[in-house]
Symmetry: C2
Subunit: 473 residues, 2 copies
C-alpha cells in the first residue's frame, strides 16, 4: 500500500506499527485526561441565551456566536414544488478550519487535535489543528487564546497548500461557510499534549474508524491536493490488487495535467459546468429567514423545539458542558439534534477503466447558491417530501461485496447533538446505466478535485466522501 | 492584426471592409426601422406597478419582474466601518444572456442583435442573440416568443462553448446573477432583420465605439475562451508592434496549458486563491433587505426616490416606453438612474515580459458572496464613504500615452437609465511598485480567464474590461 501513498517516502512495516502504537497511546491518554460531562437542560437553564420576545429567535445576549432562527422555503424545481418552514442555525461569520502540516523524513504529517465537542457521541474526536469561529479567536467569550493560530494568520505563516471557503450542512445552517486551510510550517512547531503528528497514510487508515475523524478534519482533508503530480503514477495503477482499485487510481489522473491519460472522462469539464449551470437555473428555490415564532408547524416546549406535523428531521435542545481542556471550562448552548442517522453514498463505476462517481445536483435551503454537488444518495433528502429518492434502493440494498467503504462518522459536534452519518462508497454493477436522470452526472475523482479548489461546488457530505475515497488506495 | 485573431482564417483587407460596410448598412437600417420613444413619468402613471402599502417596496402587480426594495448594509472590513441604507433592485430569477455562434469560412461569427432598451442613452445597442429574463421567455407579460431560444435550451441545441452564472452590479442589484452562454449552432440559423452575423475580429473593433456593444454582450464575450489553444501563439508575440502588446499577448499564455511559458506569473494560482479567501474572510459586511419605507435617509416624491443626505449615487425614476420591435409595444417601468458617469480602470504592467493586471478584492453589498474581483479603480466605490480611493490619481491623472483603451460604454439599459461607465486600460510606469496594498493583487490575463470559468470571481465591470482588453490585439 505504501507505494501508493503520495508524499510517502518511508517504508511500511515497523515504522507504521510504531506510529500506530504511538497514536493509540496518545489517544488513550487524551481520553483519560479530558474529563467532561454534557447534560441536557431546559432552555430556561441556558446562561446568556435568550428567546427574543419579538421574533422568538434564540440567541446569545452578546449578539454573537449563532442564533436559531426561522426559515421559509418555497422549493420549485425539477423534483416538483413544496413549501415548508423550519428552524435553522444562523452564524454569520467565517471560521477557520486549519490543519498544520510538516515534513518528517520527507513524509507530510498533520498536527491533529484531540478535541471535545458538546454534541459528540463519544466526546473526543480527531480534529484539525485549529477549529475556531471568529468569536473564538477574537476572544469574545473571554476564554484562552487559540493555539497555533499564528501559523495560519499573519506574516509568520508557512506555505499555504489549500485555502478555500467551503459550505456546511445546507439543511441546518444558513449561508455558513468556513475557511478550509492547510499550511506547511517551515519552523519548529511545539507539540502540545492535546495534539499529535499523524501521517497522511495513517490519517487515511483512521478514516475507517467509526466516529473518529471529525467533520471539520474530513472537509479540510478532502481539499488537500494528493500529490505534487496530482495523483498516483502508472506504477501504482499496475500494482493495484483489483480492477476497482486500478480504476480508482486512474480516476485521479484523467486530467491532462499529470500526463497519464488512460481514457477520457465521460464528460468534458465544459460539459460538467454547463450541466451544473442548467441545474442551478432550473432549481427555483426561494428562501428567506423569518422570525422563529412565525414557524407555525414547529412548537417550543420547555426543553425542545420540535416539528408538530412530523415533517421535521431534527429538534433543537439545550445542553450544559463541563470540560477541562476547552477555552472556557463550562458553558451552556443550544444544539440541533437529528432524529435519525443520516446516510451519504456515492455509487461508482468504471468507464473505460476509469472510475466515475455518480454526482447529484442537490438544492439545500441554507446553501448560499442553493445548489451544490452532493453524493448520489443523501438522507434525509432536502425537499424530497414524500417523493421517492432516486437510487435509494441501489444504495440500501447493495450487495455487501460491492460496498467498498462503509463507516459511520459524526457531523460537527459544536452545533449538532449525536449527528451521525453512514458514509458509503458502493461499486455499481458494470451494467449500471451511464444514461442517468437529469439531476445526476458522472464525474471522475480528478474532475471533482479540480472543482474543490473553488467554493460553491461540493457540499460537505460529498467532501467527506471524497476524503473517505482517498483512504481506499 | 488579423494573424493575431484566434479562430480567424480569412485575410484582412477587402473582406474586412466588406463586412464593415455590411454592418454599417444593417445598423443604420435598424436605427431607421425601430421607432420608439422613452419619457419620464411620475410613479402614479406606472401601469401595474405599485408601492406596497406596508413595506413601501415598488413592485409589479403580477408579483414578477423585479422590485425596488430597501437594503441595510453594515460594512466592516479592511477599509474601515460604515453603515448605510439604500434602495436596491431585487430580481430573484436567473435570466439568459446567450450568444449564438457559427463558423463561416472557418471563422467564428456571432449572431448579434440590434436591441432597444428603455434606459439606453442612444436607444439601440449591439446585444446578445438572446437577453431574456425568465419572465420574458415564459411569457409572463404576454408578449411574443423569445427568438432563437430553441438554440440554447432543449435537445436541439448546439455545442456549448461557455455556460456559467455571473453576477451583475453589486451596488444596484440584490443577489442577481445571469446565465452567460455561448452555443455553436450546428444546423441552419435564420437571420431575422434585427440580427446580424459579426465576426469575433469585427466585434472586438466595435468594442472601441462609445455606447455600442451593450453590457450583456460584453459579459458573455469576456467568458469566451479565445482560441482552442488558449491564447495567441509565439508567432503573434514576435509580430507584436510594441512591448506592451507583446506583454499582453504573453499574458494569455502564461499557464502551462498552452505550452508557451515566457515567464511565470507573479503569483501561483494557489497564492491568488488564498489571497482572495483572506480578503473575503476579512470583509465582514452584513447586508439584509429591509422595507423601502424604512430607509430613512432616502425620500420619495411624485417622480423620484432620492437620497436626502447626499450619500446616494443614484435615484429611482419611472419611465414609459413606446417601441415597435419589442416583445410588447408599450410599457412602463421603474429605472435606476445614476447621478454621474462611472469609471472602471485596470492598471497594467509587464512583469518579466508578461502583462499583469492590478485586481482589487471589492466588497459590494448586493453580491451573493459579498466580495468579487474588481478593476483597480471603480467609481463610485462601494463602501468608500469619504475615504480616499487607492490609485485614483494614477488613473485620473494618467499620461494619455499610457491609456491603451478608453471608451465610454453603457450598463444594462433594461434596468438603468443613461448609466455610462468610462472603461480604461492604463499602462503603469515600469517603476510602478509590485508590492501593493493588501486589497490588491497582480494577475495575468490567463489567470483571470481561468477564474472566469466559474461564477463568484470577477465582477461585471472587471468582465467588461477583460472583453475590452481582448480588443487590443
Amino acid at each position: 500500500m505504501n507505494t501508493m501513498a503520495p508524499f510517502a517516502t518511508s517504508v511500511a512495516g515497523r515504522d507504521d506499527l510504531a506510529s500506530t502504537v504511538a497514536f493509540d497511546v496518545w489517544w488513550a491518554g487524551r481520553q483519560k485526561a479530558n474529563r467532561f460531562e454534557v447534560e441536557r437542560i431546559p432552555f430556561a437553564a441556558l446562561d446568556d441565551w435568550r428567546f427574543d420576545p419579538e421574533s422568538g429567535n434564540l440567541g446569545h445576549t452578546s449578539g454573537r456566536f449563532f442564533t436559531i432562527e426561522g426559515l421559509h422555503v418555497a422549493a420549485d424545481g425539477a423534483q416538483g414544488a413544496a413549501t415548508w418552514h423550519q428552524p435553522i442555525i444562523h452564524q454569520p461569520e467565517i471560521g477557520i478550519l486549519g490543519i498544520l502540516a510538516q515534513r518528517f523524513d520527507g513524509e507530510l504529517h498533520f498536527l491533529m487535535q484531540a478535541k471535545m465537542e458538546p454534541g459528540n457521541i463519544n466526546t473526543l474526536q480527531l480534529s484539525p489543528t485549529i477549529q475556531a469561529t471568529r468569536s473564538n479567536y477574537t476572544r469574545v467569550h473571554r476564554g484562552g487564546t487559540t493555539r497555533y493560530l499564528e501559523f495560519f494568520r499573519g506574516p509568520g505563516r508557512g506555505r499555504v497548500l489549500v485555502d478555500v471557503l467551503q459550505s456546511e450542512q445546507g439543511s441546518w445552517f444558513w449561508h455558513k461557510h468556513n475557511r478550509n486551510i492547510v499550511v506547511e510550517a517551515t519552523g519548529d512547531v511545539p507539540e502540545h499534549e492535546d495534539f499529535h503528528w499523524v501521517s497522511l497514510h495513517q490519517l487515511r487508515r483512521l478514516l475507517r474508524t467509526d466516529n473518529l475523524v471529525n467533520m471539520d478534519a474530513r472537509t479540510v482533508l478532502s481539499c488537500m491536493p494528493l500529490a505534487p503530480s496530482g495523483g498516483p503514477g502508472e506504477g501504482a495503477v499496475r500494482a493495484a490488487d483489483d480492477p476497482f482499485t486500478a480504476a480508482l487510481l486512474r480516476s485521479y489522473g484523467t486530467c491532462p495535467r499529470n500526463g497519464t491519460d488512460p481514457g477520457p472522462p465521460l464528460h468534458t469539464t465544459t460539459e460538467l459546468l454547463s450541466w451544473f449551470t442548467e441545474m442551478k437555473t432550473r432549481s427555483e428555490w426561494r428562501t428567506r429567514l423569518v422570525p422563529l415564532s412565525g414557524v407555525g408547524t414547529w412548537t417550543r416546549t420547555d426543553d425542545e423545539i420540535t416539528s408538530t406535523d412530523g415533517s421535521g428531521t431534527f429538534r433543537i435542545i439545550g445542553a450544559r458542558v463541563k470540560a477541562a481542556n476547552r477555552e472556557v471550562t463550562s458553558w451552556t448552548q443550544p444544539l440541533l439534534a437529528p432524529l435519525e442517522q443520516g446516510r451519504a453514498a456515492f455509487l461508482a463505476r468504471a468507464v473505460d477503466g476509469v472510475l466515475h462517481l455518480l454526482v447529484k445536483a442537490q438544492p439545500e435551503p441554507g446553501l448560499l447558491d442553493t445548489v451544490e454537488l452532493a453524493p448520489t444518495v443523501q438522507l434525509p433528502a432536502a425537499g424530497a417530501g414524500g417523493r421517492p429518492v432516486p437510487f435509494r434502493t441501489e444504495v440500501t440494498g447493495a450487495d455487501p461485496d460491492r460496498v467498498r467503504f462503509d463507516t459511520v462518522l459524526s457531523e460537527e459536534g459544536g452545533r449538532f447533538h449525536h449527528a451521525q452519518t453512514r458514509y458509503q462508497i458502493i461499486e455499481a454493477p458494470q451494467d449500471f446505466p451511464l444514461d442517468v436522470p437529469e439531476g445526476f452526472c458522472w464525474m471522475t475523482v480528478r474532475q471533482l478535485m479540480e472543482l474543490l479548489r473553488h467554493g460553491h461546488y461540493l457540499n460537505v457530505e460529498a467532501r467527506s466522501l471524497l476524503a473517505c475515497l482517498h483512504s481506499l488506495w
